[in-house]
Subunit: 135 residues, 2 copies
């Protein structure tokens, strides 16, 4: 248990050349790397498939091309899901959350969402927990 | 469209006094603030309710207490969902994703998940997109 609070998040303003509408660019709350979290959900079953990261350009491409594009934090490059694997994500809808730091991307996922071959990135990766319940 | 790549993510090691098991603490990939993204999903409908942030301590509390605890990036404090609003999240299961930077917390949500009063933090917040479809 740390007694030191984490550093305050540094909201990153929209890049000067954001391809998004001014209203949307102003509403996004980016982390210190300029990214927001993108939850990807299968549109008909509601399965949570994976979580990725988007900057303004990745969100713009996702909103306008019919395919999901992420920004890879580890490789520092854009990554259109399925270009290598064939496991395309067809965009059905995109919503931004109440405070602008998360996106919900509803898709039709072709094949496995996870690079390990499982349908979702969470399959078979449950942790031991004490479940809770109302009395 | 920025021509400058975002700064490389700085993986943060487990805090010296992490309350998690050594294996779990080693598997988590924290951002520069020591946090991972936590997607919260209603266990029976699969609705995505919200996205929050957890450090090792918040995850430990969530795994052991039956209630979801987040770390608030804006307030820099722990926040047990429902303590103020009554909108408790009872933990059903927790899974970590394939690369350790996201958690899927399945819960039974009491009332509204969103502080604005909507059931989820994404309700009514759809963006205009060009949907995609396989030919």
């Amino acid at each position: 248990m740390s007694e030191q609070p984490a550093p305050a998040p540094v909201p990153v303003p929209a890049p000067a050349a954001s391809p998004l509408s001014p209203a949307l660019a102003a509403a996004l709350k980016r982390d210190s790397a300029g990214l927001v979290a993108a939850v990807v959900q299968q549109f008909d079953t509601n399965e949570v498939l994976m979580l990725g990261w988007m900057d303004d350009e990745a969100l713009h491409r996702t909103m306008t091309s019919g395919r999901v594009t992420f920004y890879s934090r580890s490789r520092q490059e854009y990554w259109r899901k399925g270009d290598t694997s064939g496991h395309v994500q067809w965009v059905k809808s995109v919503a931004m959350d109440c405070d602008g730091d998360a996106l919900l991307i509803r898709v039709d996922q072709v094949g496995a969402a996870c690079h390990t071959g499982t349908r979702t990135c969470f399959d078979g990766r449950a942790l031991d927990v004490q479940a809770g319940a109302a009395l």
